[in-house]
Symmetry: C2
Subunit: 191 residues, 2 copies
């Protein structure tokens, strides 16, 4: 992994030069084009991925064939089917590239090794998990307590540059509303 990218990725962490080199040697670059599938339902999930550029989407396909968007990942996010990645179960979700992306993958095996060898590496991911935990709680509260318009405004605030890359039905399926409701909300806000 390139030194500049590595330094940016771990800017909040407190690693020695040698530790940073060890970690960087285990992160493998992958280039994806729009439409590429990173993970499919039923896959064994051995990797988590750091998004350096582009945009990916995790979605769940229900029995009726409807897509539900669990997550978008843009620059600086990590993405995987985390339940499968953490537990070893098969993936329940799908991850596709929705805008040409450069990502770096890290295997669970290497991650476990780094947790043991470099305490600051575990601190880095414990803090990441805290932030993701807060974001998910905020989303659940939003789903319970906020009208769709406010949830849409939160989405735009959280992902300011994403609207160019994603289709309307991606956003609608993230917010749990129909594309018609999304259009109505946008028209209302444009007035």
């Amino acid at each position: 992994m390139e030194d500049a990218i590595l330094a940016e990725l771990f800017k909040e962490a407190d690693f020695s030069v040698e530790e940073l080199r060890t970690i960087g040697s285990l992160l493998k670059r992958v280039n994806l084009k729009k439409g590429d599938v990173l993970l499919s339902e039923g896959d064994t999930v051995l990797y988590t991925h750091f998004v350096y550029s582009g945009c990916l989407r995790t979605y769940f396909l229900d029995d009726a064939g409807k897509e539900h968007t669990l997550q978008f990942a843009i620059r600086d996010w990590w993405i995987s089917d985390y339940t499968a990645f953490f537990t070893g179960d098969k993936a329940l979700t799908n991850i596709e590239c929705i805008q040409h992306a450069t990502i770096y993958k890290l295997s669970r095996k290497h991650m476990e090794q780094l947790y043991l060898d470099i305490p600051a590496f575990e601190t880095f991911f414990r803090k990441k998990l805290e932030r993701r935990f807060m974001a998910l709680q905020k989303r659940i509260l939003g789903n319970l307590a906020q009208p769709a318009k406010d949830r849409y405004l939160s989405f735009v605030e959280n992902y300011p540059d994403i609207q160019q890359s994603v289709k309307n039905y991606h956003i609608a399926s993230f917010l749990g509303i129909t594309t018609e409701s999304l259009s109505r909300i946008r028209k209302e806000l444009a007035r």
Copy 2:
């Protein structure tokens, strides 16, 4: 903290006897009666709490005065306003005791110290966060993809013994449905 409770709490962790003693000395017992308020919106949140017995509930009060239940915590769960606890911001939620409880509180300051002194302590909470992260993702997917009846069944599965302690509007406000819908679902399932 009592040795037997301490051993149970950290049964999955790999601590030495001395480490376990250090951790136990920092966990302070608190007894709560039904109706006691552990945390209120606007509070500074200095503690997280391990529930040894009883039941607590985190809820958010919206502008219209409606309660939205974010979390229930029964034996073996940890509870706090985590966003406030992690960031130092003021609490946005309220936590009340809904069934006589014995809990053990641990301060953020002590937690940070334990993260530094005992790497296995950070591993323990990193794994806890992974599990909570998975549970929250599952709940979000459920809210997006499942009808209310299935979400209710998941709730009953996740909290098998909770129905005695909680009011119908607690459960309804956790599932994001009205108490009337909850009654309808129960009647349907009883048939």
